[in-house]
Amino acid sequence: MSAVAPCLDVPLEAYLAVCTFLYREARALDEERFRDWLGMVTDDIHYWMPIRENRFRKDKRPEPTPADAASVYNDDRTDLDHRVQRFESGLAWNEDPPARVRRMVTNIDVESGDTPDEYAVYSNIVLYRNRREDEEGWFVAARRDRLRMTETGLRLARRHIVLDHNVILDENLSVFL
């Protein structure tokens, strides 16, 4: 054990807890248990997916920030709640019959966070969506998360989704990554 332990920035139990959290989160979303998912995020959540422009390598402009980026998501908890309410309304025609959505979460790396109760978590996600008879969409992204240990367990406090698309190649991105 002494040879492998230095590779971990956090205790093994913490690494496993983070992995389990991410898998459970993906399973809740795959199963459309959106209220359960909202229960897994903090009240001060910032959920951000900027668009990815094609820029030359020599381009010196700074990377966009949540304040100035064009974004797919730039949400606080109220925004996320609105999206969930839309699903729950029974009036979202394009979600009925439901799509088949599957998330594959990989490359999970856990570091200590800025504060003792937080972890900086890196992961990749592939989301496959199959709708109607034959409509297929794939979304691939890296995620830079901040997970916070609370009295009731781990919660998602920040998510920066680095989407690997320029043009969104399916008709909408109304899925949580």
Partner: protein
């Protein structure tokens, strides 16, 4: 179905457009949203001759700033020269055809083709050819090998391009629409866009989106029932088709049209929420008197309105949401939706930022309302794969023959906002452009038809 042959049209009509929708466009043969030959004619007759949105001045403020975009399916570069003038030209090398600029935006001194290194300046002129003196003879004339340029004209900072030298000026092409655009573009400070555009590919014909934004208020309460039930505000009253949308539908001579559904001093018509809604309300409260003073009571009334509109052929916008979109065609059965945020330049930065978020949340790639539309338009388009289905005409008769002139509002006015006058008007312009080979005839035909 009976072919409606327009007696005024004597020009060749190889795809039989005159029989695919009548002069009043009250119905349409589905082939206009499906057929590849018609699409190719559309690229030539509509997209290669119309004023198409490029970008806003403020998105390329410095010399060397550029964006790449499309006019129809033609790739173009829009660049600000060292002299401060914005020019646009094809983004395809004149040697072997390759793309000369692969970035969406940036700042450049020149655009160098990756294939052999031909370099074009910010004006599209061929500036450098590697080994030119050694490998080309005296008959090689760089001066004749510049990239084909696009006419660029600005309407209050909004830059449009046109490939056709014989097309009317942007201002003439806008016609009465300029007066309406001024409602939010000629206010002190003017309007601007926040970019870069968000791009989404949808498997539908571009015209279904263009006509929807031109005037389909009818769908708002039903298609978007879920989203409006959540976000409330001014649109909530039409949720689930509980009520007819109040307000007007406007059409103009050259195909541009929109709905305006006014609000009140108690309920400003927008879909912003929370702090941004309050900030927007404060802005409106202070701004409406300014608009009334500078532009008159009629435009103050529609300034305080939620708008959905399309500038022919493929530039659309929503005020009160505040989105600006271009429907980029990708064949007859696919398009890209490009979305910017529309704001007034004098708004405080916090309000601009809030409006951007609000637009992205409702009409961005994961927009609460945007997602509802895509599937409808795909269904409208792709059902035409069935041969029998394709023979069933589509209906657009709502509000037929109810348009009228107005003492102040230019163009034609219809009421209520639930109407298909602007939808038909867009397709009537489309029909006219598809049938006529030159712009003088297009304008004469449209003016005659509009006066009738």
């Amino acid at each position: 179905m009976a072919a409606h042959i327009d007696n005024a049209v004597t020009e060749p009509d190889p795809n039989g457009i005159a029989g695919l929708l009548p002069p009043d466009a009250a119905w349409q043969d589905r082939r206009i949203y499906w057929d590849e030959d018609i699409y190719q004619q559309e690229l030539e007759r509509v997209f290669a001759r119309s004023w198409l949105f490029l970008t806003h001045e403020n998105l390329i403020p410095e010399p060397g700033d550029f964006v790449t975009t499309f006019m129809g399916e033609d790739r173009v570069i829009v660049a600000r020269g060292r002299d401060g003038v914005v020019r646009a030209f094809l983004n395809s090398c004149n040697h072997r055809g390759n793309i000369v600029c692969r970035a969406d935006s940036g700042n450049a001194r020149s655009f160098v083709c990756h294939y052999h290194g031909w370099a074009y300046g910010l004006d599209g002129a061929l500036a450098d050819v590697p080994l030119e003196k050694d490998i080309y003879g005296d008959d090689f004339d760089r001066g004749k090998l510049g990239l084909k340029t696009v006419r660029v004209e600005s309407y209050r900072g909004f830059l449009f391009g046109n490939f056709d030298a014989s097309a009317p000026s942007l201002e003439d092409y806008l016609g009465e629409m300029g007066w309406y655009f001024d409602t939010f573009m000629a206010v002190p400070g003017g309007a601007e866009l926040l970019g870069p555009p968000i791009k989404v590919r949808v498997r539908a014909n571009w015209k279904f989106f263009a006509e929807n934004f031109a005037g389909d208020f009818y769908h708002a309460g039903w298609t978007h029932a879920a989203a409006v039930s959540v976000i409330g505000g001014a649109l909530a009253e039409v949720q689930g088709n509980k009520a007819v949308a109040p307000g007007y539908q406007f059409t103009t001579t050259f195909g541009h049209g929109f709905n305006a559904s006014p609000g009140t001093e108690d309920l400003f018509p927008h879909i912003h929420q929370g702090e941004i809604a309050r900030e927007f309300d404060d802005w409106m409260r202070a701004r409406i008197p300014v608009v009334r003073k500078e532009l008159g009571p009629e435009r103050a009334e529609i300034y305080n309105a939620i708008w959905d509109g399309t500038m022919f052929p493929n530039t659309s916008f929503l005020r009160g949401i505040d989105t600006w979109k271009v429907w980029q065609p990708r064949g007859p059965r696919e398009l890209e939706i490009w979305t910017w945020t529309l704001v007034e330049q004098d708004m405080p930065e916090s309000l601009k930022r809030g409006i951007r978020h609000s637009n992205e949340k409702t009409f961005g790639a994961a927009g609460l309302l945007e997602g509802d539309d895509g599937e409808n338009m795909e269904g409208n388009t792709n059902t035409a794969a069935g041969w029998v289905t394709r023979q069933q005409p589509l209906n657009a008769q709502m509000g037929l023959a109810r348009e009228h002139a107005h003492p102040v509002f230019p163009g034609r006015v219809s009421q209520p906002a639930d109407n298909e006058a602007s939808h038909r008007n867009l397709l009537r312009m489309w029909r006219t452009m598809m049938l006529h080979e030159d712009w003088d005839k297009i304008m004469a035909a449209r003016r005659a038809e509009y006066a009738a």
